[in-house]
């Protein structure tokens, strides 16, 4: 019997080893390797060898790097705008679809379709829609309001005040179908009897929505917040495609990009050959992510405790 068990273990290990080998090499090892790299300098000639050991210099530089902290602020703003907007858009679509409708699956698929399309291409298309003079939006507003309108002269992406919002709108429209499917599944799981009971108690439509529907959708909302936070920290392609971090603004004596999110700033540092510094930045971002995750779980568990008390 003992032989049989050890043979089983060997078989199991054999089946699992290709995956674990890749996992260890490309997901676990880099966490440590990145830490190691963050103590090295940044060669000016893009060479990967002969990196100079600089100790904690990269971390000291981060603390004084206004651009880095600014990009974190932009990331936070990006999340603060895009997460609620995304949740509202998906929920609105789900509520519209949560009826007995002819052609429901058509609508569901049509809304979901942009989710599977390439982010870069979607970003490029939206850039051209927003573009002043020849973009689709500029053409329509010119027809409606004459040539001297904001959409035709500057364009939404040309002004530091609207650029981030314009990116968010494009991304919300691309991603709304995803949340919609999640909300729709959850909505259909709410038993009709709950609403009927509320009707008997004389609840208004709004009360039913805020007191029954929203609390029952809470797990989906939490999920969307968590993925939204990770998405904001990961945001790169949409910024690269649509704004390249611009338009530039001067803040406290430094020129910063009004849509330069953390992911984009990290790429910029990496792209200009500051490998050690980029590694240090990714480590800082990792720590921040873990902090946020920890905070979210605290809040979620505290809310659960409060629910339980009621």
């Amino acid at each position: 019997m003992a032989i049989r068990t050890s043979q089983d273990t060997a078989v199991a290990a054999g089946f699992l080893s290709p995956f674990m080998l890749l996992f260890g090499t490309f997901l676990i090892f880099p966490i440590f390797y990145s830490f190691y790299l963050s103590f090295f300098g940044s060669p000016t000639d893009y060479s990967l060898s002969n990196l100079e050991f600089v100790g904690l210099a990269n971390y000291k530089r981060i603390i004084g790097d206004f651009q880095f902290w600014w990009s974190l602020g932009v990331t936070a703003l990006y999340g603060v705008i895009s997460i609620p907007l995304g949740i509202c858009a998906s929920l609105a679509l789900a509520l519209l679809l949560d009826n007995k409708l002819f052609g429901k699956s058509f609508f569901r698929s049509a809304f979901f379709l942009p989710n599977v399309l390439d982010m870069l291409v979607v970003g490029v298309i939206w850039t051209l829609i927003y573009a002043p003079k020849f973009g689709a939006l500029a053409q329509i507003t010119t027809w409606l309001m004459g040539e001297n309108n904001f959409f035709n002269t500057t364009g939404l992406l040309g002004s530091p005040y609207t650029a981030l919002l314009a990116v968010v709108i494009a991304m919300v429209l691309k991603g709304a179908g995803f949340g919609m499917v999640l909300f729709l599944a959850a909505l259909q799981n709410i038993p009709e009897a709950v609403y009927e009971a509320a009707d008997i108690d004389g609840a208004s439509e709004w009360q039913k929505f805020t007191k029954i529907t929203v609390p029952l959708l809470r797990p989906i909302i939490i999920f969307m917040v968590i993925t939204g936070v990770i998405g904001s920290l990961n945001a790169f392609t949409e910024i690269y495609a649509m704004t390249s971090g611009g338009p530039q603004v001067v803040m406290g004596g430094e020129t910063v990009g009004s849509t330069s999110v953390a992911g984009y700033y990290l790429f910029k540092q990496f792209d200009s050959g500051n490998y050690g510094y980029a590694a240090a930045i990714s480590y800082m971002l990792l720590i921040i992510t873990l902090g946020i995750t920890w905070l979210q779980q605290r809040i979620a568990s505290r809310n659960d405790a409060m629910e339980a008390k009621k």
């Binding site: 995956f19 390439d118 020849f134 179908g177 690269y240």
Partner: protein
């Protein structure tokens, strides 16, 4: 009858009906015109004169596509009015609500899908005429003088490129056909390897005994919380140190360990009864045979889902492919990277950029049409589990 008529309700119905007629006419008109445009573009040749010919052909087809749009609008109007009249008076409020619902949904679909329709239309516009829109109706975005020249130019099969290609074949191969094949190769290989390793791994996590199995699984799940951006620098160094920079392997190797895939497959394999495996073992099946004959066929829908999702991920894995591409070897460029490069070169040539975009968008949209269930269920799987 007239006594029961609610004037407010009739008025609301009139407004909703007017909106419906306008929308159905404009939308179906654009779609039919798009069909006519594709036909005219494909039946004519290259160059500005052919675009004129295609324009004439389209002009001849105008009664057809306009007529079809009018028919659609009329048929819909008749159906809706008939339904409204037949509906009992007390049900008419609900009827109007449903009508509003459909119209709101239709507006939503138009807003969400407009960018892609615009992309398709612009890609057929002759060079230099992307800016020309109908002065009377800015919602008429389908070109009236269509041409396939943009596609010829991004594929480098137009006369000028072919002539240049005779002198410099490499230059001629730097086209979106090549990029498309590269992307296809990278995404298919990656998807195949990911599904193979993930299903083998998930089998162990679901059905086999192994010391520290639970701890390993928790470790896997923990890494899902880390944004992928954080791995960029170390993974790039590793790939370079392995001497893989610029190769196709580099484009997907670091992303082969799909934790999401393991998670998804394990969830499914947990529902396969152990008795099936035992039955196969009693019949004398080897371990590999159990996996291949029992597990894989039963988990095939979910494996297929993972395959499609992984394919999609690598199809649009722009950032990673950008940094590991060796630009001295332009024939190894993949679609997203190619598009980013291309856009830098032809900033204002909308038609060219849009037709290049089609190479990435259209195949995936078609794939989605045929396998939408797998895509939607697969992508939303992890979330619905609490």
């Amino acid at each position: 009858m007239s006594k029961d008529m609610h004037p407010g309700r009739v008025f609301a119905f009139m407004i909703l009906l007017a909106i419906m007629i306008t929308m159905s006419y404009v939308i179906s008109g654009q779609l039919f015109k798009f069909g006519a445009m594709v036909i005219s573009a494909f039946t004519t040749g290259e160059g500005a004169e052919s675009a004129m010919q295609a324009g004439e052909l389209m002009h001849k087809l105008t009664p057809v596509h306009n007529g079809l749009a009018v028919i659609v609008a009329i048929v819909m109007t008749i159906c809706v009015v008939q339904r409204f009249l037949r509906t009992k008076n007390e049900m008419r409020g609900a009827f109007l609500k449903r009508m509003f619902l459909y119209e709101a949904l239709a507006v939503g679909v138009v807003v969400v899908l407009f960018p892609f329709f615009w992309m398709l239309c612009t890609s057929f516009k002759p060079s230099g005429q992307e800016l020309v829109i109908s002065k009377t109706n800015p919602f008429d975005i389908v070109p009236s003088e269509p041409t396939l020249d943009n596609f010829r130019r991004v594929l480098k099969t137009d006369a000028a490129s072919v002539a240049a290609g005779a002198l410099d074949p490499i230059e001629n191969k730097k086209n979106f056909g090549t990029y498309f094949l590269n992307s296809l190769l990278v995404a298919t290989t990656a998807a195949f390897l990911v599904t193979l390793f993930a299903s083998m791994g998930a089998y162990v996590f679901s059905k086999k005994e192994l010391p520290y199995k639970q701890q390993m699984f928790m470790l896997l799940l923990a890494t899902m919380m880390i944004p992928g951006m954080m791995f960029m620098v170390p993974q790039f160094f590793m790939v370079c140190k392995m001497g893989l920079f610029g190769t196709k392997w580099a484009m997907f190797l670091p992303h082969l360990a799909s934790v999401f895939g393991i998670f998804m497959l394990k969830q499914f394999m947990d529902t396969i009864p152990d008795s099936l495996i035992e039955a196969a073992q009693i019949d004398g099946a080897s371990e590999w045979q159990v996996f291949r004959v029992v597990i894989v066929p039963l988990a095939l829908p979910i494996i297929l889902t993972l395959f499609l999702l992984t394919f999609l991920f690598h199809w649009s894995n722009f950032l990673w492919q950008l940094i590991v591409t060796n630009f001295e070897n332009p024939l190894s460029i993949t679609l997203p990277v190619g598009l980013a490069l291309f856009r830098g070169q032809y900033t204002s040539e909308l038609g060219l950029i849009m037709s290049a975009s089609c190479f990435s968008i259209v195949p995936i949209a078609v794939l989605f049409l045929f396998a939408q269930r797998y895509f939607i269920e697969g992508m939303t799987q992890g979330a619905v589990k609490e």
